[in-house]
Amino acid sequence: MRHLLLKLEPVIWLLFGQGIMIGTMLLTAYLAVVGVAIPLGIVSPDALAYERALRLGSSLIGRVVLFALIALPMWKGAHHVRHLSLDMGGLSRDAVVAPILYGLALLGNLLALIAVVRLH
């Protein structure tokens, strides 16, 4: 398992890097608008009423953006949680923890693909 993880490190690190870079930029907007501004009434809920949200989300660029918004933060999350485990002395359990976390991110990415494809 360690050997496999070492071989995959460059890919995981690239995904993690984009998770921070692009994921952070996209999440800022999403959390600010969908998570805070609309619920608090700072922005009208009509902005993301069902018809408009679906129209935006099911455009090609909308699907790409939504996929990135879902998928990329998962790699940042998985990688950092794994490192947190290692920081807490978890080297001996890494062979179990790392595949679970990266597997979770991979599963999330697959579900994200399905989620954006089924928008119509």
Partner: protein
Amino acid sequence: MSDKKTFVIQRFDPDRDEAPRQQSYEVPVQPDWKVLDGLNFIKDELDGTLSHRWSCRMAVCGSCGMMVNGKPSLTCKDALANYGDRVEVTPLANFPVVRDLVVEMDGFMEKLKAVKPWIMVAKERAVEEGTYRQSPEELEYFKQFSMCINCMLCYSACPVVGNEPEFLGPAAIALGHRYNMDTRDEGQRERNEIFRGEGTVFACSYANECSEVCPKHVDPAAAVNQAKINAVIDWATSFVVPRGGK
């Protein structure tokens, strides 16, 4: 008129002690003293059994690294005026302790050697071909990373070093990166494979503590993270450009 400070020092004699213990000393200090001066006073005047490494007293040899009040410190450079009445000195964190303030260095030397820190060329230049030529700009690509004095403070500060024994560590990776960025060197492929191997540069979690504690402003965190990018590029090109035999 000198101040008194209490030095609380970790002692460990492998022949006598089960485990490390603390011992206190009252030291009359001068205003311009460094921590090392206090330790040398203890050794010279109070307790000749104290063991600690030191040499140049001017922050170039890298011998006198220790933890002072819990932080990695080059004790010949660290002024006692920075500290209050109590100065706690322990050996460098993350290292096995040989005796008192002396740590086992062989593991560090092995990591340095593992990155092949020398110019590697496919074919040696003949004398008639003359010297290598390197512009000032080319020197700047790696000069900063060549300033390491091997004091090991970065290893003491790094959370990964303490948790993952295989990790090459800041100084070794910075040294390897120094050679990778040297225009005279042709060993990047070999070194990047080492960087992706057991000692993997990707174990670095970019705490940046190594750079915070480095007394020579080498910025090993920059080197390690630049090395990650180079290692990824090398990994990607390995699919495109076939690797031949040695």
